[in-house]
Symmetry: C2
């Protein structure tokens, strides 16, 4: 194969970068830490966006757009938020360039200095709550259920394509409610939407849970998250939904008159998922031959490769294929017939394996004679010769099987890689050698969590929502604990 | 009516701002020159995006995403481009904030100064062509037909919601071709897509033409445009498509090996439309009662208002309405049944007129008895009582009629406001009093164009593509001319 990947067992991290590069998903740009999302990678993101957008709208949300820039002073208004976000930011200080008379080119015009610097949004709570102040007067103006699709910038020092980049694309929901209960309900509704999307579209099983105080969003009362497990045994936080209490309403003075005529501060949530999900998708399923994409998010679901020597063979195959293409498209299945003649079938097979196309059909002269076609599935690499009669129904069912099969495999992997431990020795041993999720008792203090992190690099990924209460002792401090939490090394 | 607008005849400019504000389309943000696009305004932009995106894909284009930031030095590489774009830009100079120990809050960390400043993209030719250098080696890599949906920033001093804002949303296509002919063909293909969209979706008639040298995109060989006429007689440039020749390929050293094995520079186009189109849509059709939206871009196409006094009347009306709603939705028609009980029907009528909902149904107890419903169309404000039997087909046809009616009205207006003039006196008189497009002979020089502009503020909007050649004399210089061009005051 021309485009060989480093194998996962040899170097997982290099395998990932090779794959992102060779499958034409993304690349580093000329600007440090910023990526170019290439058409094939962007097509996956577009499919994610379309499904998520539909799910948000079905749950009553609407889209809007708020400015890229945030005045510096806005960050100081919420005490925790400023600590978390107003640090590694891109800062706009000037608004004009001028010709460089001495050296040629252009230089920043020192006379065009902004009175107050503008920060490129790392997240938009501050500018949005400053806006909401004018939109909300009465309980009749609530709830506000708004989402935006946008780019944000966090000046990360160590970046990795899709997983952590200085600029990334995301959606951020910002909702406003009359009561605490309603805001909490919204926070949980969204974490359920995210889990539904992860499991039923990305085919990635996730654990829904609450973050510990250390890992909470800066400015939140509670952060709910979904955590996924990658093939190297590391966890990846895939989406978060924050209950913000009245923190931002107080910081930006957003009050409403309730049904009884009294003024109250508004209750808030915010929630987001990003292009990081593309990284999660790649790392959860793909193999040493390339991408493995769940059919529901694959830009091309079926590829058809003709096998021929003479032009008249191609013509006969094309005629047969074209009617299959029409039928598949009528079912909403995306299909590509690759009849390009400057590449050999073997090259095409390898290329579409690399690109993760779920189903490949190959048709040659003998198939034409026999009324058959060769069907290969990407996830298991199985090949079968199948009758052309009923092929569309066969493919429909196969796509469903693949979607489910990929999910089951990831779920099975996660079960194997989730370990209950009772002692500190066991904990260290599992984190170091086996990896995956470690379910253990913890005394509930940030201090213990910090110590565990500094000794093992493992963090608490979440306190699972569907946790059984169970008396036990903290693996580190030995103090009493009432439930287990999930630890892991994480991206 | 609670939300009265300034009338168009009194003050067109204030009418526009009132309408954008009161119909909840957009508002100014806390950041100078940047707007907040509110949910109803954003819903119109989303409908535009969906149609344009479909049209781009049908013509073979794919989406991708390039960085928000452009290194300052990139702008200096194309001589004309730097003059046009590297001036009023947002400049990022630092990447970190720190706590202000003296005054509280945060300050820019002077130690976190970037070695090279980053410019927020005002347009992306430079960063994209710098990227294309690595994507293009052979004629087999061509054409590249890529579009991106993105935000851009141009530090405009005088801004107006949607029409001219510091940050705006747009799409920018950037294509690469092996031959000049193919690149020109692409440029024209896209201006035709834009005209199709403007006329058949926005219901705004446009003139396709070429820009004069003065009005050309900085770095282009030729700029094609579509020009629309607003109700105040001013023109609005609604989309541009640029043939860039080999300028950017030379600036960024992008070469390919042609079929004969020789190295050549790549040929380029770029093209874009922006949230400015929302402004054009508003100004082209709306009236003193509010928005008039073409059905194909209206977020809500049909609103149904119940007229009742007692709860049982509402129940009976709702039952009838619900079955209509189901039928309309099945036809892909977006419909809202507004049964909110804290607002009177009269308030609702005014509100949906303001919001430009194309068709309004009102149903009261007498309608129930008679098997009828009152149907009002927004564009003409006509009302009719119509039989419920066959109402869905009636609405379908009505939506088509409204779409066509709005277009015809705008076309008729443009015809009336397009004037052929032969003399300079006539020219000045028409520009000053009648407005609209003025078709006149011009000697083809930038000098004359500049003088006409400084004396009348009128600019050459375009040299129409479907122009008849005709000998004449320049209205200003008296020199010979071979065709008329279109002048107008413009946004």
């Amino acid at each position: 194969m021309a485009k060989e990947l480093t194998s996962r067992s040899e170097n997982y991290s290099q395998w990932y970068l090779d794959l992102v590069n060779k499958a034409d998903l993304a690349e580093n740009s000329a600007v440090r830490g910023c990526m170019v999302i290439k058409p094939y990678g962007y097509a996956i993101w577009e499919k994610m966006q379309a499904e998520l957008d539909r799910m948000f709208k079905e749950t009553g949300h609407v889209n809007a757009y708020f400015p890229l820039f945030i005045p510096k002073s806005f960050f100081s208004k919420e005490a925790d938020h400023v600590e978390g976000f107003a640090k590694e930011c891109a800062v706009v200080t000037h608004y004009r360039l001028k010709n460089d008379e001495e050296n040629g080119g252009v230089v920043v015009d020192p006379e065009a200095k902004l009175e107050e610097e503008l920060i490129i949004r790392p997240t938009s709570e501050t500018i949005i709550w400053n806006t909401y102040r004018n939109w909300i007067q009465s309980h009749r103006d609530l709830p506000l259920l708004i989402n935006q699709w946008a780019n944000v910038v966090r000046w990360e020092m160590r970046t990795r394509l899709f997983l952590r980049t200085a600029e990334f694309l995301w959606q951020e929901g910002h909702t406003a409610h009359a009561t605490k209960e309603e805001a909490i309900e919204e926070t949980i509704k969204i974490i359920n939407v995210y889990a539904d999307f992860a499991e039923n579209y990305m085919a990635v099983p996730v654990i829904k849970g609450l973050k510990s105080e250390n890992e909470r969003f800066a400015g939140a009362i509670d952060t709910y998250c979904i955590e996924a497990l990658m093939q190297d045994g590391k966890a990846l936080q895939s989406g978060t939904s924050h209950f913000l209490g009245q923190n931002f309403a107080k910081a930006f003075d957003v009050k409403f008159t309730n049904k009884e005529g009294r003024e109250e501060y508004v209750w808030a949530t915010s929630w987001g998922v990003s292009t990081r999900l593309v990284g999660a998708l790649i790392m959860a399923h793909s193999d040493d031959n390339g991408l493995v994409l769940p059919p529901k998010l694959a830009p091309i679901q079926v590829v058809i490769v003709p096998i021929y020597k003479k032009a008249e063979q191609l013509a006969a195959i094309s005629e047969k294929v074209n009617s299959i293409v029409v039928e598949l498209k009528a079912k909403g299945i995306s299909v590509k017939f690759d009849d390009s003649d400057h590449k050999k079938p073997g090259w095409k097979f390898a290329e579409y394996e690399l690109k993760g196309v779920p189903v490949r059909l190959a048709m040659g002269p003998r198939d034409l004679e026999n009324g058959t076609v060769e069907v290969a599935r990407r996830d298991t690499l199985e090949k079968n010769v199948v009758a052309l009669e009923g092929i569309v129904e066969h493919i429909e069912k196969l796509l469903d099987d693949i979607q489910q099969g990929i999910f089951n495999k990831a779920l099975e992997f996660r079960s194997q890689k989730t370990t209950k431990v009772e002692t500190w020795e066991e904990f260290k041993e599992v984190i170091e050698n086996k990896g995956g999720f470690v379910s253990a008792h913890w005394d509930g203090t940030a201090e213990t969590e910090d110590k565990i992190k500094s000794e093992t690099k493992a963090t608490i990924r979440c306190i699972p929502l569907e946790n059984e209460l169970e008396e036990g002792k903290c693996i580190y401090s030995g103090k009493p604990s009432h439930q287990r939490v999930l630890f892991a090394l994480a991206y």
